[in-house]
């Protein structure tokens, strides 16, 4: 039973317009970021949270200009460090809803350390990672998620680095909400971000985002409308993992490998996002076109106490056991002596 002990506050119903700032948006025309911004502004009113209680903190990169375009509290911080600032804010202000806006370079290269530790701590933050597999703001160098062979200005003979895969990384850290969506399916995008925002604990959303200037069409092979039903699979908790123009294909575990089978095959997996063991989620996260369909949706969503809850519980517990701290007595310390 939930008892309502707070007075009911009349929160005005907000609309998308309430979340638009007066700043001119300065991304390249055609950039996938526009779609993410629009869906964010559309999604936020659904949360029913007053505007002043929402904070967007970003790092550096094209995506990190995001907070300027939202009429909430916001901070455009420094490269890779947004999760650290968001952590300090959320721990000292549990009443706020805090989003981290980051890119593949920001969160996986310069901010890689903060990324893994923020995930494993289960701080109640919503991390939206715009993955365009390229450095855009510095005009087109390969990123930690670029594919081997990627020809860029800093890799004229092709990148020789194995790309980092964000979803398996997040799963390995024990993140409690891990999802993938993409910029050209507005409904799925808004819906996934809303689920992330509603999750208590760390939420990680990889958003496949097209950079039409430096890496145009990076995801086109499977996200383009005519091919996406054949080449992508939408994960939905409790439902069979099936895809295809006629919903005729499914994904099954055969031995130690995932395989595409007929949709009516009894071995077709039922997606269970609440599974504690991340092995299967990890295998699905590694499915890639053209061998397999690319999965989007929520890979994992489990309920764990958040870092902030645990910290506040320690404070409450220590206060209950020792009484509220007496400053004068603490400053006196254990041993004092009097000089007459």
């Amino acid at each position: 039973m939930v008892t309502q002990d707070k007075p009911v506050i009349d929160i005005p119903v907000l609309s998308k317009k309430d979340f638009q700032s007066d700043q001119e948006t300065r991304w390249c025309p055609g950039c996938g970021d526009y779609s993410i911004l629009a869906q964010t502004q559309k999604m936020l009113p659904n949360l029913g949270i007053p505007r002043e209680k929402i904070v967007f903190i970003s790092g550096i990169g094209c995506s990190s200009r995001f907070p300027y375009y939202l009429n909430t509290y916001g901070m455009h911080s420094i490269h890779g460090r947004a999760p650290t600032i968001a952590t300090g804010l959320k721990l000292s202000r549990p009443d706020l809803t805090v989003f981290v806006i980051t890119g593949d370079g920001d969160s996986l290269s310069i901010g890689g350390n903060h990324f893994i530790h923020t995930m494993r701590r289960n701080v109640d933050l919503n991390v939206l990672q715009f993955n365009n597999q390229i450095y855009g703001l510095t005009k087109g160098q390969y990123s930690p998620t670029s594919e081997i062979g990627k020809v860029t200005k800093s890799s004229p003979l092709g990148s020789i680095e194995e790309p980092l895969k964000p979803i398996p990384l997040a799963l390995t850290t024990g993140a409690t909400f891990v999802a993938r969506t993409y910029d050209t399916d507005p409904k799925h995008l808004a819906d996934t971000m809303e689920q992330a925002a509603r999750h208590k604990g760390i939420s990680f959303v990889e958003i496949l985002q097209n950079c039409n200037i430096f890496n145009d069409g990076a995801f086109r092979d499977f996200t383009d409308k005519p091919v996406r039903t054949e080449r992508m699979v939408y994960l939905e908790h409790g439902k069979p993992i099936i895809f295809g123009d006629d919903s005729d294909k499914g994904v099954a575990l055969r031995g130690t490998e995932l395989e595409v089978v007929a949709a009516n095959d009894p071995d077709v997996l039922i997606h269970d996002a609440t599974r504690d063991n991340t092995s299967l989620a990890n295998m699905m996260a590694l499915m890639n076109y053209p061998e397999m369909p690319v999965p989007v949706g929520v890979f994992r969503q489990v309920d764990r106490p958040t870092y902030g809850e645990a910290l506040d519980a320690q404070i409450a517990d220590a206060t209950a056991k020792r009484g509220e701290g007496d400053l004068a007595s603490l400053v006196r310390g254990g041993n004092t002596w009097l000089v007459e």
Binding site: R51, L96, V331
Partner: protein, 622 residues
Amino acid sequence: MAETPAVEAPDTVQERDRVTIRFAGDSGDGMQLAGNRFTDATAAFGNDFSTLPDFPAEIRAPAGSLAGVSSFQISFSREIIHTPGDEPDALVAMNPAALKVHLSALPRGALLIVNADAFTAANLKKAGYASNPLEDDSLKDYRVVRAPITSTAITAAQEVEGISGPNADRTKNFFALGLVSWVFDRDIELTLKWIDDRFGRIQDGTVAEANKNALRAGVNFANTAELGDVHVRVAPAKLQPGEYRTVTGNEAMALGLLTASRLAGRDLFYGSYPITPATDVLHELATYRHFGVRTFQAEDEIAAVGSAIGASYGGAIGVTGTSGPGVSLKSESIGLAVMMEMPLIVLNVQRVGPSTGMPTKTEQGDLLQALYGRNSDSPVCVIAPQSPGDCFYAAIDAVRISLQHVTPVILLSDSFLANTSEPWPVPDISQLPTIDAPLHTDPTNFQPYARDPETLARMFAVPGNPGTEHRLGGLEKADGSGDVSYDPDNHQLMTELRQEKIDRIANFIPEIEVDGPEEGDVLVLSWGSTHGAVLSAIHDARAQGTQVSSAHLRFINPFPRNLGDIVKRFRTVLIPENNLGHLKMLIRAEFLVDAQGINKVTGQPFTIREILDSILEHSPRN
């Protein structure tokens, strides 16, 4: 069980004004513990005192090696003192390595207590002795007491049934403490009680009994051995009346931060990554959960400062604590706080550098880093505490300035201040002025970069407040609105405003006071932990008939308003620093005076003598 011996004064007692003792042994020998117990007994006796723990960075260097020697020095006096003493009057050497490392500090005629049991062939070899110094005449200039410390301690400990070999061996520091307590007339009752409190519940109390036996055995040994000629008494000091406690700089810093948060009515958040010698502040604050203090052990130095900035952004007092290498990592984040004009406290407990340097040794080498260690013009306020107890007040000053002027403040402590202890008059919390720095809440005409006409502090509204939603960041801000601006004239204006805001803090801090004549030949200008040695050296110089003035800087950026006038009134400005001349350069640059440096970078604080000699050298001959 041995009876508690009465520490009776023998017939021949030497009355002394001041005594300095150094305990030295292996880093596993418990010298810091013995020193701290002696310190508590000294505090209870009523002397003024100052301590200097000195230990290696390695937790357990190879036993018996020179690198593994750990020491603890305490100076206690019937007079008011300000340093842990120059030369020890007595040295306790628990093994040959300790003797080898510390003998050169011992003046001729000093008391030397050695653990004779430890002078084995193997230990002598590890310490690099070709022959046993206890058997040749190399110690003939000292009053040597050859005490079988290890064997006698073990014998005493083994009177307790069931005590293990290693636990019996570990009582030898208490034996040494007992011996020294007898020689220097310290009561052991407090230590006996401390042992009970600390070890009473371990292994049915056997560990406590063994250590108490060893302590008493040390006293008995001194009492029955022919040590009567070295029984020394230092009368209690005439401290200002009041209630006192012992405090180290790191303890006072933690207490000061907490007190400041109460005075300001804001939550305290401390984000830190473990680093010597700052970690004890994190340890201390982590025990303040029942005060609502939130400590956060971050994944690295950058995350630590980031979390503090985030906490400040939400309206808490965001503090990050570290040492120089950590500040290097935090530089970009401090720059962000400068650009966003965000309250932030960065505590730097300085140590020897560059790079990892000598982590447990003291230095003041980060002053220029504090002032200039960021890209572009990036002014912050810099405050340096002058004594362990002053760390408490410096922390409060830092929080006050940070909140009222909406700016990062760097607090420059150092390894010496952090670990040294002194009697500290317990502050009356109820008499401390509150820190008045309300958050901005009125949405009417709100602009995040609109400024207070006096301080130039910007309007500081935090998330959660309706109607003042705004965006901050590291990009240049338009004056007033805080919108991103690439306007050339705006950047010129904002750069000047950020500087002017820091400069104007000078209107809110005390002017610097000169001790001694307001003009003359020599002014000793000090900052930070050199304060005590300078104060004593000035005292000694005057006692020798040399007229000299001194002034001490707690606020280094901005300088106190009258500093320029003061330094220009002296023919020579002498600046002692544990670096190669940071403040000297600043004083020369700012005021065009020919400042001279006294520069020591050995990892040890100044002795009084070193500063006194320099004062005498620069003073005109009578």
